[in-house]
Amino acid sequence: MGPALTAALVTSHGITADEYEKIVKALGREPSYTELGVFSVMWSEHCSYKSSRYYLKNLPTEGPQVLQGPGENAGVVDIGGGLAVAFKIESHNHPSFIEPYQGAATGVGGILRDIFTMGARPIASLNSLRFGSIDHPRTRYLVSGVVAGIGGYGNCIGVPTVGGECYFDECYNANILVNAFTLGIVKKKQIFTGIAKGLGNPVIYVGSKTGRDGIHGATMASESFSEQKEQRRPTVQVGDPFTEKLLLEACLELMEKDFIVGIQDMGAAGLTSSSAEMAGRGGCGVELDLSAVPLRESGMSPYEILLSESQERMLLVAKQGSEAEILRIFEKWDLDAVVVGRVTDDQQFRAFWRGEEVANIPIRALTKEAPVYQRPATRPPQQDRLQQLDLASIKEPKDLLATLKQLLGSPNLASKEWIYRQYDQFVRTNTVVGPGADAAVIRIKGTTKGLALTVDGNSRYCYLDPYVGGVVAVAEAARNLACVGARPVGLTDCLNFGSPENPEVMWQFAQVIQGMRDACTALQVPVVSGNVSFYNETDGTPIYPTPVIGMVGLIEQVQRVMTPWFKSSGDAVVMLGRTREELGGSEYLKWVHGLTRGTPPWIDLRVEQAVQLCCLEAIDQALLSSAHDVSDGGLAVALAECCIGNPEKPVGVRIETREMIRGDAALFSESQSRIVVSLKEEKMDRLKELAARHNVPMHVIGTVGGTRFTIQPIMQVAVDELKAIWSTGLASRLK
């Protein structure tokens, strides 16, 4: 069935000559057209992790709290009291560039399914977005579409979007990044996994009908864009959040019963990957009757049915005899549920179409024995030149207040309210701290606990020094959690890179992983799930290496939660940590001087940990009124955010600097391991004790109060004026 196999047809499936040889060897014969399709998606970079697997195994994935590490639909971490959280981040980059609304929407839909397939009810989503230059003619269209798509899906399914980040840089002009994170909560005893076992157990298909949408989506995600990318639009799936909402409720209702053996989302590579991966994990075989699959359109071939990436579908393996009860639950929710196959013991993936066998492949060949490459990695020759930065040649601006205003109104630093006000941030009534703070905080109903969530990644740092960039991405995420009073329990990563076939990209990848590994080890945060997105480049130009870290932290007493904003007049302002003359890779250097040069700020992980612990203990002891991480834009921007970020009312501050470094560095250096806190004068001695005990540098730098933002002797301005610039900086450019 299907066309005869030619070398050109094999190549067009993204299968190399060597890989084709392996296929023939695994089968002991030439594959059929349908089988070639199955191999092409299962061996795609997206599904097989063939270029990244070798490096990913270096990441620490264990900890006493880890219930499920990488390799499942999502990672699961114990949070005590019989509860656990499942979370993961995933990319939907290429589809979102081609069709921003549907691409982003189905990205959210996919990650939500990954969470509830584990038995967890999704309770919070975040997203990390990267767009091209704000002035690029396509950027406005892409931002509007992506944001509307994320909102359109998330709002409709009733999961709040509580935080995220968004950056603009030319390197994403032709390849935007849309990374979606979701966290769900699950009883420890009711965690489900994607496993098939039990000879004769039925394989049940539930959810939307299968159409031709998304065929070869996984393959598309595994190759670089070219000029013809627009023609790929038909490979973008169309989302139906209403059906997903029904699927979510029906699955969770079903999971209260004891019918399910294993369950997996039909995501990338659809029916093929879900069934093969489940059988792979269970060490069994699977047999599918494709004629039984509910179809949306007529005339679909077995090849198309196996490879369709139609959304809102799940595959489950049930206990024999429970079929009727399962079908009844899905009928209640007006969803299709059909037995489409059964578990076998021959360890083969077999598919039938109208009684005729159309695929018969060893499961091993599709899963464990899929190719793994240790691709060549080379440090780019231009890296040295890139890291050179002679500060003497950078002219210090005369009017540093004007520079601060310029930065606060810049798209990367301005308020992101225009984006997040399009997301329902409140549904499920758990949102204690929503978007705009260092980390989002949700309460866990029925307990005194809270969860803090953040997504972070500075790709400019990674471009200039991928090792340091990897360290900083993890450290900053943990620091954000510390600022709200949360201790990290685990992280998930979305690794967005160029082509793995480019040795310089592979070097970046290896370096970033090493940096992440060192930071995870030092800060004791296990990696529990993740996603790799390669081939983010257009016509040979890769994006900056962009690891995005989604980190989750636990707050034992959510009442103690801390926010970044100054609260009361008279509170002292203190900086934990030290500012150095580190302008390399800074937002200031980029936005004001147009340079992406130098080395990113240095980070000492022992100091980092000490600063975080000091902040956490200060919050535990109720010493602080506010805590805010100093990062993009440096101290001046962080202080301004403390004054103007409060959604209720801006407040002034008076700062005295005694820095012995050049003025622009004192204000805008992005030295790591710094937190600005404010507190009542009478609590100062106790904070000093804590800082001394942790060996953390601590300086009293000013006082909260009034309506002006003053940094003596450099600048003073009305806080309302800064607030106006910051509030409209992004919105005015996107209107």
């Binding site: 139906d240 758990n430 309460r443």
Partner: protein, 236 residues
Amino acid sequence: MHWGVITFPGSCDDHDVFDALKSELGQKVKLLWHKDELAGNFDCIVLPGGFSYGDYLRCGAMARFSPILRGVVKFAQNGGLVLGICNGFQILCETGLLPGALVRNADLQFICRPAYLRVEETDTAFTSGLKRGQILKMPVKHGEGCYYADAPTLERLHKNRQILVRYVDAKGKPTPSANPNGSVENIAGICNETRNVFGLMPHPEDACSELLGSTDGAKIFNSIATACADKATSHV
């Protein structure tokens, strides 16, 4: 008193209303399924927010045909209290229990942010525990929350004092910038002529806990509970 909260396919805030009433306010509350007939004794039925039946046609247009709605309409006609929040407000307009319509927000974008509401009338069960001119803070979150009514309808709303809450700024002024969606006259919620059906776009269930930033939403639910208790006593 007894509360019923309807779950339509696509309801998102049904559990939030349920939780707020049960856990935060200690009320007796039951979830009702859209395919069932309305059965049992209820003092107040809540139509929650969300996207009933996906709202792919027009918000609330499908839900009005669901089996349970027949009972709800009868319940309202017999004087029972009905509260529609967000999608629930849209459904009440579609059924004709409330006049006017909710159309796409003026700027065409979904909007989620805290809003200030001014209480305009207090002679309803929903607002009897509040003061005229009182300011309440609670979130709005909707794509189709722009209230529209033609001139004769607006005139009737005025004459019968059916406008119960308006969008205002923190100082209580109904300014254009305080209006999140372009609603005519900053209208955030209205009741029917017999004052037993109330629809509003903002979400009181999201404002029932100090930890979440406001307990002003609880004031509406408590008002209803008190009114029902008073009514029960007066019947004795």
